[in-house]
């Protein structure tokens, strides 16, 4: 395997600047590393000096800010997917908390004449519905970009 400190330095700069969830970021960096090393091998067949080859390879890969800017929409989509999944998975926990709260305070008459409690119940239902559709929507958008563009 052909490696070079200049390539390692470039990858470190890329890792520091790349946004997005850690797992996705790692996969982007692994792919960048593979591409740079493959290009390095090709360049070494032409240029004998490894440092010169590394400089050329890095130059062709592109400046870190340009590469990061190109990845920003993908990083945002990945974040949206993770956020959607979190919201979706958090919903049963939220429902459970309300169930526990109701049973810990049986004195509250949820079906009775207390208007404030009835309004709170309706608002809770609406917020759960919004969270449900919002989380499903963001998951769909994040996994199938063309449907939301």
């Amino acid at each position: 395997m052909v490696d070079h400190p200049l390539i390692d330095g470039y990858l470190s700069d890329l890792a520091a600047a790349m946004p997005g969830p850690a797992r996705w970021r790692q996969s982007v960096l692994d792919e960048a590393r593979d591409s740079l090393l493959e290009a390095m091998e090709t360049h070494l067949r032409i240029a004998a000096d490894p440092s010169e080859a590394a400089r050329q390879v890095i130059g062709k890969y592109g400046p870190v800010p340009v590469v990061v800017a190109a990845f920003v929409p993908e990083a945002a989509a990945q974040r949206a997917k993770y956020a959607g999944l979190f919201m979706f998975l958090a919903m049963p926990a939220l429902a459970e908390l309300w169930y526990v709260a109701v049973h810990l305070h049986p004195a509250i008459d949820w079906h009775g004449g207390n208007a404030a409690v009835r309004v709170a119940g309706v608002l809770l239902g609406i917020s759960v519905a919004i969270a449900l559709f919002g989380s499903l929507g963001s998951i769909v958008c994040a996994t199938r970009s063309r449907r939301c563009s």
């Binding site: 996969s27 692994d30 792919e31 593979d34 591409s35 062709k60 592109g62 190109a70 990845f71 993908e74």
Partner: protein, 111 residues
Amino acid sequence: MWAEALKGHLDTMLLSVLERGPLHGYAIIEALRVGSSGRFDLPTGTVYPALHRLERAGLVRGSWSVVSGKRRRTYRLTPAGRRTLTYDRGAWSEFASAVGSVLEMGWSTTR
């Protein structure tokens, strides 16, 4: 100039390169460069986000493997990607033919 002109067509060209069979990222970029006689020599790092976008749209599928001790991601065209490529090819052909007709038309100036 080429990079700007390429923006709307990069996705279709990537799909076209993958039509020949599965390839890893660097090989796709090299195929693009060689296929365009060096005219489309984009910064390598900016082509990967396009591949990720195509994967998210379900048009290509990426999978990891280990080749000579290195982790490598290979992309292949999906059936949806193949359909999109066929449609985009037809649309491009029609567009290029229409533009070509206008550009090559002999205009006479009238006053």
